[in-house]
Amino acid sequence: MKKLPIFCPSCESNLIVSELSCSNCDTVISGSFDLPKILQLSPENQEFILQFVLNSGSLKKMAIQMDISYPTMRNKLDEIIEALQTNS
């Protein structure tokens, strides 16, 4: 899967969505849309959020599954919260 770029390679500003297209009927929508906050996170953090939801929000379960300790898991979540708050 191609990596979604979130920063401008030229000036490092946040990128916005300017075009969306339907793969079925080729309809193209142009405009200026902000990327959702979650998509502005790193792929690793996005994967963490996905696993968090799939594990019903249980950090304990995730810690066992990923073979790392609970506080490490909680610290990771705190870092993501901090990143989301910074982006807002």
């Binding site: 073979d67 300790s69 609970y70 506080p71 909680r74």
Partner: protein
């Protein structure tokens, strides 16, 4: 291996760590009793001429309790989500390097060196160090180096445990950690001097 030796808190679950920590404390206290060592302070160890079985156990209990309580209070101040079990595990496992030190007193080696040194230095004149056997000086030198390394290892384990438990970052939390360690050391000394056991 580096994680296991310096920062097991990052990877291992708390129930596994607490069991290992308690077993290590019990084993370490037995070793201290066998080789006449007292853990008479949070970052202290001394060899004594007579020792009771329960003394190293009470020493360990006081040291671990004080470290845990003081660092937990600091942890709560830094991050409200800090859990006592994580701090307790940091305190329990940080003691492990100390349990190696008593082995230096096999055959009361360190006690003999201590006694000889004290006898030599107990004079009003300039002490005559030529009376001290070279083997004693070499042993003392090796003991000092190894002890310092073990102390650094112990503090590194405690600091890493504190950082993982509290998600502490920055210079302020590092300074507060060392202040807490010093407070624990002073309090442990006061308690041990005043508690008859």
């Amino acid at each position: 291996m580096k994680t296991l030796l310096l920062n097991p808190f990052k990877k291992y679950q708390e129930n596994k760590l607490v069991i290992i920590g308690i077993l290590a404390t019990l084993l370490g206290s037995i070793i201290a009793y066998i080789f006449s060592a007292r853990f008479d302070g949070v970052i202290d160890i001394h060899f004594v001429s007579s020792i009771n079985l329960w003394q190293p156990f009470i020493d360990s209990f006081i040291n671990i309790s004080l470290l845990s309580l003081i660092l937990f209070a600091l942890g709560k101040y830094i991050n409200k989500k800090t859990r006592f079990i994580d701090i307790l595990n940091s305190s329990l496992l940080s003691r492990v390097p100390f349990y190696v030190v008593p082995f230096f007193n096999i055959g009361t080696t360190m006690q003999k060196i201590n006694t000889t040194l004290l006898e030599t230095l107990k004079t009003d004149k300039v002490p005559d160090l030529s009376n001290i056997p070279l083997s004693f000086i070499i042993t003392l030198f090796i003991f000092s180096i190894v002890s310092i390394l073990l102390l650094v290892w112990s503090i590194a384990i405690l600091f890493n445990g504190y950082k993982v438990s509290t998600n502490a970052k920055g210079v302020k939390s590092t300074i507060l950690f060392f202040v807490a360690l010093l407070i624990a050391e002073v309090l442990s000394k006061i308690i041990m001097i005043n508690l008859p056991y």
